[in-house]
Amino acid sequence: MKKNPEHAGLSWLFIMAWRDSRRNRSRLLLFLSSIILGIAALVATFSFGYNLQNDINDQARTLVGADLIINDNRLPDQEMQHMLDSLGHQRSQERTFVSMIYFIRSQGTRLVQVRALEGGYPYYGSLETLPAQAALTFRTGRAALVDKTLMLQYGASVGDSIKIGEVSFVIGGILKKSPGRNEISLTAAPPVYIPLRYLAQTGLMQKGSRIDFRYYYKFDSATDILKLVSGIEPRLEKAGMDFETVESRKKNTSRAFDDFTQFLTLISFVALLLGCIGVASSIHIYIRGKISSIAIMRCLGVRSSQTFYIYLIQVMGIALVGSLLGAMLGTAIQQLLPVVLKDFLPFQPSTAISFMAIAQGIGLGLIITLFFALLPLISVRNISPLNSLRLFVEPALGKRDPLQWLLYGMIFLIITVFSRWQMHSWQKALIFAGSILIAFLFLTGVARLLMWVVRRFFPSNSGYLLRQGFANLYRPNNQTIILIITIGLGAAFIGTLYSMQNMLIRRVSVSASANQPNMLLFDIQPAQAEAMVSMTKQFGLPVLQRIPIVTMRIEEFNGVSAAKALKDSADSIPRRAFESELRVTYRDSLLETEKLVSGVFETAVKTPGDTPHISLEERYAGRLHAKVGDRIIFNVQGMLLPVIIGSVRQIDFRRIQPNFRIVFPKGVLETAPQFYVLITHVPSSEVSAHFQQAVVRRYPNISMIDMELILSVLDDILDKISFVIRFMAGFSICTGLVVLIASVLISKYQRIQESVLLRTLGASRRQILIITSLEFFFLGVLGAGTGIILSLAASWALAKFSFEGSFSPEWSALSGLLLVIAGITVFIGVFNSREILNKPPLEILRNEV
C-alpha cells in the first residue's frame, strides 16, 4: 500500500468536521442563535439605509417639487427681483410664516404655518388633498387647504371657514401631504395653504414679521441646471439668498438620514458584538468537551493545524447558517422599519430586498464571528496527544496564548474600522470602540473580583445550600464572566436609554411648572403693545416679560466689512454671520437664566452718543471668534450703529422663553423700528383658549405659542424617538437574553453530571432548586447592578457633555430594573434546569451525556 500523508487534504477536513459535529449539533445551534438577532438587525438597518438612499435618489425631485428653489427672509431689491423673474420656464412663489388661525365655527385658535402660494407649484409630485381637485381649485378662489390633523383637532369640514389675519377663507380641501415634509416637522405648526394674492389683505406682512420668501422654478429638460445655478450663485450669495436644487436636496437629505441610519446600525452592531461574546463563550466550552477527541486525533497522526481547521470549519459553517438565518430575519424585519419610522421620513420608503445589505450583513457577521471564535479556537493547536493517555497534562485551555492578544487587537481594530465606516470620523470611532472596550473590561473585572471575593471571604461555616450556590460562581465550568458581561451590557443599555429619555423630557418640562411662563405672544407691533398689556391684565394674567425686538445685520466686524467677508471665503468669521438677520433686544439687567462669563454687563449708555457696550451669548461669540473689546458695526434697517462687545453671557436654554444672542443696553435702540414679545402664564387650557380667541379677533397679526401644546408635541416626538430607539435596542436586549439562555443551557451541560450526582446522593428537588436559584440570582443582581453603574456613568457623561445639564438618577426606576433583570435571570436559570429537577437521574444521563 502506498502511503502519502499529504493526501488528507481539504475535503477530508470537511468530512471530519461534519463527522465530529454529530451529536453536538444542537449545542452548535446555541452558538448560532446568539448571532442571528445581531445580523438580523444589521441587515435590516443596512437594507433600510440602501432603500432610503435609492428612494432619496428616485424621489428627490418630488421632495423638492421644482428644479430650483430660491429663498430669502426679506423682499428682494429691484435688481434681484428682475433676476428672479427672468429664471425658469415656469415659476411660482410662496410666502411662508407662522400665524394664528381662527376656526369660525368651533371658535378654536391655533398657531399654523401659513403658505401663501401663487403659480403651479409643485411641478413634481403633488399636494395631496381631499377632494383631490382642491389642490388646484383653492388657487382660484378665496379658499384654503388645511392640514388634516388640524381638521380633525377642530372638527372642521370642507366648506367651513377660517380666518387668517383680517381675511376669511373657505376650507377648499384637506391637505394630506405636501412635498418634502415629514409628519414630525409639521406637528408644532401644521401647514395651511392660501392663494398669495390674498396675503396683503390679511394684514400679516408687517414690519418685524418673520416671512420666508420662496421662488420655485421649473426648467425645460434641455437646461443644464447645475451650470445655470453656478452662474447665479455669486449673486445669490451676495444678496444672502439660499437656494436648493434636486441635487443639493439629495445630498442634504442623505446626510440627515445618514446620521439616523448610522445610529441604528451602531445599535445593531452592539447586538452582534454581544452575540459574538456568546459565541466565544460557547465555543470555549465546546472545545473543552472536545479535548479527548482532539488528543486521539493527534495520536492517530492528525496535525495540530488540521485539528484546528476541523473545528474552524464547524464554527464557520454554523456562523454561515446563523448569518443566512439572520439575513432572512433581517430582510423580514426591514419590512417593519418603515412602519416604525414613517413619521420621521418625508416619503413612504420602499422595502425592496437589498442584496448588498444582505451580503454586507453576512460578511460582517462571518468576519466578526470568526475573530471572536478564534479566541477559544486557537487553543486547539496546543492540545497535546498525551491527553489520550492516563497522564497529567497542563491544561491547554487555561494558558494565555500570545496569539490571543493579536486577536483582541484585531477585534478592536474591526470595531473601530466599522465604526469609522459608519460615523466618518476616526475620533468618534475610537470613542465608540473605546467605550465598548471599557464596558467589557469593567464587567470582566467585576466578574473576576466577584469570583475572588466569594472564594476568599465567603464564610465556610454557612449552610450547605448557600455554600454550594455561591461556590458555583467560581468553580470550574462557571459561567460567571460571560453572564455578568451579557446581563451587564443589557442592563447598561436599558438604563442609559431610560435616563436619556427622562433627561430630554425633564429638559423641556421645567417650563411647564407652576409660575413659569407658558404662553408667548409675538409679532406685537409698537402701536399694539400697551393695549396688549392691558388686555392681558384684563384676563387676570400676569405680564411676566415684555420684550422689545429690533432686527439688524452685521455690517462690519473688527474692521472686516460684510462685502469683504462674503467675498473672502478664507476669512475665519463665518459668512453666515454677515448674511443672517439678527433679532436683538435691549434691557438693563441679566435674566435669572443668564450668567456673566466675561466683561461687564452695561445696563444703559451713560451719555447719549457714547458707543454702546453690548452683550453676546457665549456660543455665538465662540462661532464669531469674538471677545470682549471687539468692535462691530450693525446695520439697523439702513442706519449704521457702531458698538463694542462689553460682555459675554451664558444662557440656560432649558427654560423655553425668548433667548437672545445679542443684548443691547438701554438708551440706544428705543427709537429704532421694533416689535414686541409678551410672556405670560395662563393657569388652564380653558383660559388659554378664551385668551387666544380674544387676541386673534382683536389683533389677528399677533401669534401665540402655547407652551402646553408645545410640550405635548415634544412629548409625542420624544415618545416616537424613544420607541424607535427601543425597537432597535430591543435587538441587543433580545440578543442578551438569547446569550443568557445559551450560556445557562451550556452550563447545564457542564453541570449535569454534578447535579445528577447530587440527586443520586439524595438531594431533594427543593435543594437543587435553591442552589440553582441562588447562583443565578447573584449573577443577575451583580450583572444588572454593574450594568446600571455603567448606565449611570454613560448618562452622567451624556448629561454633562451632550445635554449640558445636571444629572439626577431615577433611583426607583433603576432599582426596579435591577429586580426585573435578576428575576428574569433566575427564571431562565431555573427554567432551563427543570429537567434535572423533574426527571430521574439515569434518564437525564442517557439523554444528555
Partner: protein, 227 residues
C-alpha cells in the same frame, strides 16, 4: 534483526507547583523489529510516560529516542504526528474511540490521513476479523467495552504500523473479555509482523510477550528476554 526503537540516556522530569519530579531516569533500551515487549511495574514507575515518549507523544528532558531510525527529539510536533500516522499504532486502556464517528469511520481515519484508496473495504475486512462485521455503523456509545476495544484493535492495525503501543489494553475489561482481546491482539500482531510494546499490570498479558522490562522508580529494574 533491525532495531525499531532505540532509547539512549532517556530522562523525563515534570515541574509541578514549583517542584521537580523525575519520572524517568537514564533509561537505555533497544527493541528489535517484530518483537513483543511488555513494560511492567508498579503505579507511578513511569511505564505510561515511557510509552508516550517512545511513541513521540511528548519530548524527553534529556536523552535520545530513535523510532524506525528516525530521531524524534529534533522533530516538530507536526513531524512527529506524521511519524505516528505512518509507523505507529495505538491501543488505549479506555479505548479512545472518537465518539462522534461510527466503528467503520474510526478504523478508516488513519487510512484517510494517509490518503489511501479502497479504505472502506480494508476497514470492513479488519472489523470482520475482530468479529464486528455486523456493527460497522454503530457509534462507540452503542458498543460494549469489549467491542470498543476490538474496534480500537482494528484501527491500530489499519495503517499497517511498524510498531504498536498498547497502554493497559485490558485494564477496563472483565476477565473473559480480556482473554478474547489478548488473543485477538497477539493473533493480529503475528499476522502483521508488527513490533508490539505493551504497558500492563496484567501478568497473563505480559506472559504472552517475548521480553518483559520491569520498571521501578523511573529506572529499568529488570530486562527479561525469553529464549
Amino acid at each position: 534483526m533491525d532495531t525499531i526503537l532505540n532509547i539512549r540516556n532517556l530522562s523525563k522530569t515534570y515541574s509541578s507547583a514549583g517542584r521537580e519530579l523525575t519520572v524517568l531516569d537514564n533509561i537505555n533500551l533497544s527493541v528489535e523489529s517484530g518483537s513483543t515487549v511488555a513494560v511492567v511495574g508498579p503505579s507511578g514507575s513511569g511505564k505510561t510516560t515511557l510509552l508516550g515518549l517512545s511513541a513521540g507523544l511528548d519530548r524527553s528532558t534529556t536523552g535520545t529516542i530513535e523510532l524506525n531510525k528516525i530521531t524524534l527529539d529534533k522533530l516538530s510536533e507536526d513531524e512527529r504526528a506524521k511519524i505516528r500516522n505512518r509507523y505507529v499504532g495505538f491501543i488505549f486502556q479506555n479505548f479512545q474511540l472518537l465518539p462522534t464517528l461510527t466503528a467503520l469511520e474510526n478504523v478508516m481515519v488513519p487510512l484517510e490521513l494517509l490518503g489511501e484508496k479502497n479504505i472502506k473495504n480494508r476497514s470492513n475486512e479488519l472489523l470482520d476479523k475482530v468479529g464486528l462485521g455486523g456493527r460497522l455503523h454503530h457509534y462507540p456509545a452503542q458498543l460494549s467495552g469489549g467491542e470498543q476495544q476490538r474496534v480500537s484493535l482494528a484501527r491500530a492495525f489499519s495503517n499497517n504500523p511498524k510498531i504498536l503501543f498498547a497502554d493497559e489494553p485490558t485494564g477496563n475489561l472483565d476477565a473473559e473479555t480480556s482473554e478474547k482481546v489478548i488473543k485477538l491482539l497477539f493473533d493480529l500482531n503475528a499476522e502483521a509482523g508488527t513490533t508490539l510494546i505493551i504497558v500492563t499490570h496484567n501478568t497473563e498479558l505480559a506472559a504472552g510477550t517475548r521480553r518483559i522490562i520491569r520498571l521501578r522508580g523511573g529506572t529499568i529494574f529488570a530486562d527479561e528476554k525469553k529464549s
